[in-house]
């Protein structure tokens, strides 16, 4: 193969990046092995010390290599070196620098690096704080890093057809990834900017800048409890790992929860599925590890306080990380296929991902089985009246919830395996995933709600005989009465349709009241408990928020078109409403009106006025919502629609565009529509009219209408007047006002007036047609008008003339009287723009035996530059420019030419009947009551987790001080 000397490639970052990726992989391996040895030799301090030093060096080298690889990718992305495949796929010319982060983690490789980045950060913290746990914990984390790092290697191992690809390197050049004829050109790099893919517009959103790093920090942090659990089993120190693991798990649940919640917020604010949670597989598989870790958190607390449940804690913490890896496998291997909206595309890493999953499953299972018998279990069982008993039940309930969600989400995996065994297998799917999840999670919610209420008032290590009923019953009654009252109140506001929903509302309030009581009665004295009370309080509020906003949401945009034979459920799916521009549409207690739209860059914003009506139909409130659609770079499609939401303290009104007229979705469709119209030309003088006929066939029927049209040109203007026209300097525009009438079948004629304009801007023609919706007719000015209108400046023989007002002069026999200056010119051929300084010169053209005629050329200072608006008298053939004005002498300078007379303008109007209207939007409007309760509750819950961690860390420090 000939080698080509390519021009313009940046090979240094490629080499540096490849080296960094390779180094990070090797250093992670070294670190894992050295830490492994340091742990194994822990009884020989000197040997262990040596291994530990090597391991630390290797880990920090690994960290530096990961940072370098990330830095290199950012470098090539920010500099837009499109010869890199990753840059070509995720960056384009228009990408704003603030979205470069989103572009970085849009691809699998970037998100793997983000994950590794957080592992490095967390690992470094552990390196300096974990003391005796450093070696075993970092040995595990380093091995994880090596496995993830191997997915970025991008090397082939083996020969010829047997070569196996290891990983996908983000710093490969485009020509190393694809084989295309373009790479036969030495200067192919120059061609690349125009074909760069750029960032998916749906990710160009501020949520996408903060959601992935938070979520990945959450993902990454789950490795710490996992590594501590392995370390505990490995070193047979089954008690001491519980304490640091608890802190790290509190951190992990707080961060992972925040990441998931941000995903919900992003979905609600920027996506169009109308809600914050859709039970999508990708959402589920990040929720499940969180649930498992929360369960583990509870058994961890039990284990620390009573010595019970150490085994369960091991299992939960091991599972938490394994489920994160499973989630990674599901979303990145392409196995989810059509069941998820946010799965990554396949990239041939399936086997490596499977290795990732099974390697760590193997590690966890082996460690557990090996040490199972050695894990201490207290002889005495916990009493039914003890706190630990009910917390344990709670953790089992959470496990149940996780199993159910995972099972349903894993159906595609089941199908894939079953198909491999039995090719005739029919793939299974849940009939209605959302209903399925809601139905089961409802009871889990009820149970968890009740448990996290009353168990707060139980005591650790309670003996069966010594239980004090009185204070417990008092607190319980307070909670029940308070919750009943609040439930009754809530049910007057929201419509909880089934008994299950009502019970869930009660259980939510029960938790809220009992934890509030607990906070007031006990938690003041014990700060650790405050974190727990806040978290459970938040959980209760969240449940109520879900009940208020979920099953209780109300579709405002009920379909107005009837269709027979639908079930009630099916009718509910028909939630799209059609709004014609400026035609108010009343529904329920709102009146909606679409009033217009604007296009800025690629974003088109629609303005929808909402009027809230009371029972008598009186307007009580008005507001405006502005949903948007974002076009692709080439305007050949709509990339994404973004909702707009009106927020109240107790509800949200959510609106999203569901569809637009075909011709508004792409420039091609617009052109096709224009091309499909059959225009007929009519030439008219202002004030004249023309009549013509057209036939219209009614769809589905053999009936033809003969329509009688009458078109009248009302006026012609030498500047552009049109509602959509935004003037720019140096535009040459003209416009017409016309009236058109259609008579059909002796019915009363429909009369409409319209305005059409045509603009010549930088050598291009822009049409501003008039669409008359009542009669489905479109009218535009034919471009041939410029042949009549334009006179080539080069053919005019201009004379320079300097005169004062009051003087008379002659140009090629035409006598002209300069009447006066006009400081405020209001003429047809000049359209004033902002900050213009304009002066007109009124020139009177005198001809013998005829009336005087006046023209008024304009001298304009616009943006500190002199421009001019020519005036002319076509019949006399006079063209006059006003080019300068000397304020000292009052002398004006003119360029005036006389040419052959031209006939009066005969305006060519192109008229197309059968032009369907395109001034509508279809939208969905939903009312979400109480959605702020959901946000506030979940934020409080996560805040409670963080609070617990902080108080515990503070306590640890103060204990150390006391010692």
């Amino acid at each position: 193969m000939d080698s080509i000397n390519y021009i313009g490639e940046h090979l240094l970052p490629r080499q540096l990046g490849h080296f960094a990726i390779l180094l990070s992989f090797v250093a992670a391996l070294v670190s894992a092995v050295a830490y492994f040895m340091a742990t194994q030799k822990r009884n020989q301090p000197l040997v262990a010390k040596g291994w530990n030093t090597l391991a630390r060096g290797a880990f920090l080298t690994h960290g530096a290599a990961v940072f370098t690889a990330i830095g290199t990718i950012f470098y090539v992305m920010l500099n837009k070196y499109y010869e890199f495949q990753y840059v070509q796929a995720h960056v384009s010319e228009e990408l704003q620098p603030r979205y470069v982060f989103s572009a970085f983690w849009e691809g699998q490789e970037g998100s793997f690096l983000l994950w590794m980045f957080w592992h490095v950060v967390l690992g470094t913290v552990i390196l300096f704080t974990a003391k005796k746990w450093e070696s075993p914990v970092l040995s595990v984390i380093s091995s994880v890093q090596a496995v993830i790092g191997s997915m970025l290697l991008g090397v082939y191992i083996g020969f010829g057809d047997l070569a196996i690809k290891f990983g996908s390197n983000p710093l490969l050049l485009l020509r190393e990834v694809f084989d295309a004829p373009i790479f036969k050109q030495a200067d192919y790099v120059e061609l690349l900017p125009q074909i760069a893919q750029g960032l998916n517009p749906s990710l160009q959103n501020y949520w996408m800048t903060i959601h992935p790093p938070t979520l990945f920090l959450g993902f990454a942090s789950t490795v710490v409890p996992f590594a501590f659990a392995i370390a505990g089993l490995w070193t047979k120190d089954h008690k001491n790992w519980l304490r640091p693991a608890l802190h790290w798990t509190l951190f992990s649940t707080a961060v992972l929860g925040t990441g998931i919640l941000m995903g919900g917020a992003w979905a609600y604010e920027a996506l169009n599925f109308g809600g914050y949670w859709a039970w999508d597989p990708v959402e589920n598989t990040s929720l499940v590890p969180w649930i498992i870790l929360v369960a583990g958190l509870h058994t961890n607390l039990i284990a620390k306080s009573t010595g019970q449940g150490i085994r369960a804690t091991y299992i939960y913490y091991l599972l938490g990380f394994l489920l994160i890896v499973y989630s990674t496998f599901l979303t990145r291997s392409g196995i989810l296929g059509d069941t998820s909206v946010h799965a990554f595309t396949e990239m041939g890493l399936e086997s490596q991902l499977l290795f990732f999953l099974f390697f760590f499953i193997g590690m966890a299972v082996v460690a557990l089985i090996w040490r199972w018998r050695g894990i201490p279990v207290p002889q005495k069982e916990e009493a039914t009246s003890s706190k630990e008993f009910w917390m344990f039940i709670g953790s089992l309930t959470l496990l149940m919830s996780a199993v159910l969600i995972t099972g349903a989400t894993s159906l595609p995996v089941v199908n894939t395996i079953a198909e491999a065994i039995d090719p005739a297998w029919l793939p299974l799917a849940l009939d209605d995933p959302e209903a399925h999840h809601n139905r089961f999670q409802l009871y889990i919610g009820v149970f968890i709600g009740l448990l996290s209420g009353f168990s707060q008032f139980l005591r650790w290590r309670e003996k069966s005989g010594s239980f004090k009923w009185k204070p417990f019953l008092i607190h319980l009654s307070v909670a029940i009465v308070g919750a009943l009252a609040l439930t009754a109140l809530t049910l007057t506001w929201i419509d909880a349709r089934t008994i299950g929903y009502k019970i869930l509302v009660f259980s939510g309030w029960f938790t809220v009241v009992s934890n509030l009581d607990y906070l007031i009665s006990f938690a003041r004295k014990d700060l650790k408990a405050a974190g727990s009370a806040v978290a459970h309080f938040g959980f209760g509020i969240m449940i109520i928020g879900i009940m208020a906003s979920g099953p209780n949401q109300r579709v405002i945009s009920k379909n107005t078109f009837l269709m027979e034979g639908l079930t009630a459920d099916e009718e509910l799916k028909r939630t799209t409403l059609l709004l014609f521009k400026d035609q108010p549409m009343a529904m329920e207690n709102y009146r909606l009106q679409y009033t217009g739209d604007t296009l800025v860059d690629f974003t088109r914003t629609f303005f929808v006025d909402y009027e809230k009506l009371d029972a008598d139909g009186q307007v009580t409130e008005t507001f405006k919502l502005e949903p948007t659609v974002l076009y692709t770079r080439e305007f050949d499609d709509i990339a994404i629609t973004n909702p707009s939401t009106k927020r109240y303290w107790n509800k949200d009104i959510f609106t999203v565009i569901m569809s637009l007229p075909q011709e508004e979705t792409s420039v091609q469709a617009k052109q096709e529509k224009e091309d499909s119209l059959k225009y007929r030309l009519h030439e008219l003088y202002p004030g004249n009219n023309v009549s013509f006929y057209d036939t219209t066939q009614l769809s589905d029927l053999d009936t033809n209408f003969v329509d009688d049209y009458r078109l009248e040109l009302l006026s012609f203007s030498r500047h552009a007047k049109h509602p959509d026209y935004i003037p720019e300097p140096n535009d040459l525009g003209i416009s017409v006002d016309f009236r058109i009438q259609r008579s059909r079948n002796r019915r009363k004629p429909i009369v409409e007036t319209g305005q059409a304009a045509i603009i010549l801007r930088d050598g291009l023609l822009y049409q501003y047609p008039a669409q008359l919706n009542e009669i489905n007719t479109r009218v535009k000015i034919d471009e041939s008008i410029f042949d009549q209108l334009l006179v080539d400046e080069n053919t005019l023989d201009y004379k320079e003339i300097k005169v004062k007002p009051g003087e008379t002069f002659t140009v090629d026999g035409q006598e002209i009287f300069f009447a006066s200056y006009d400081p405020k010119p209001e003429v047809d051929h000049y359209l004033p723009m902002k900050d213009d300084i304009a002066v007109g010169a009124q020139l009177v053209l005198k001809s013998e035996g005829e009336e005087d005629r006046m023209i008024e050329p304009i001298f304009v200072i616009r943006d500190k530059q002199a421009v001019r608006a020519r005036d002319e008298d076509r019949e006399l053939g006079i063209y006059a420019n006003f080019v300068n004005l000397d304020p000292q002498t009052n002398i004006g300078t003119f360029f005036i030419a006389k040419a052959a007379p031209r006939p009066e303008l005969n305006v060519p109007l192109a008229v197309a009947t059968k032009s369907a209207r395109a001034d509508w939007i279809s939208l969905q409007a939903i009312e979400f009551p109480g959605i702020n309760l959901f946000w506030a509750g979940s934020i409080l819950m996560l805040f409670g987790l963080a609070l617990s961690m902080i108080f515990r860390l503070m306590q640890k420090r103060s204990m150390r001080v006391v010692q």
Partner: protein, 135 residues
């Protein structure tokens, strides 16, 4: 019997009950022939197939924005009219595979939900590169 075993037993029973319940909610993807059979039981089914591009697609939002009809070829190769109770989904023509949830009526398949599988981005990229090189 100690408490842990009792709890374990309860959990196991619960799990069985739930498994039994869920198995009723799971069904294989069907084709038009089998969908017709289940329609008599009134249940919802899922059907997989491809858009028949040669046959008409009807979506006239000014008549009804929640009515879109097209023809689907199921995995057995049978073509059938489908009425979707939504507007026409974006990039519908580009879909490689369509999964519909709904029921069979006498005239057509009435779908209340739709999922599209669209060609992956990487394929796009490759064809893009080929285009630019040839063009």
């Amino acid at each position: 019997m100690n408490k842990t075993s009792i709890i374990a037993l309860i959990m196991a029973i619960l799990a069985l009950v739930i498994f039994y319940q869920v198995s009723g909610e799971v069904s294989p993807y069907v084709n038009f022939t089998t969908a017709g059979a289940t329609a008599e039981e009134g249940g919802k089914v899922k059907i997989v197939g491809q858009l028949v591009k040669e046959k008409p697609m009807v979506w006239e939002p000014t008549n009804d924005p929640n009515y879109f009809s097209f023809f689907l070829r199921d995995q057995e190769g049978l073509e059938q009219k489908v009425v979707l109770l939504q507007g026409k989904p974006q990039d519908f023509e580009m879909s490689e595979q369509i999964v519909l949830t709904g029921r069979m009526t006498e005239e057509h398949f009435l779908a209340s939900e739709v999922q599209l599988k669209c060609p992956s981005k990487y394929k796009d990229e490759e064809s893009f590169l080929k285009d630019i090189s040839e063009g």
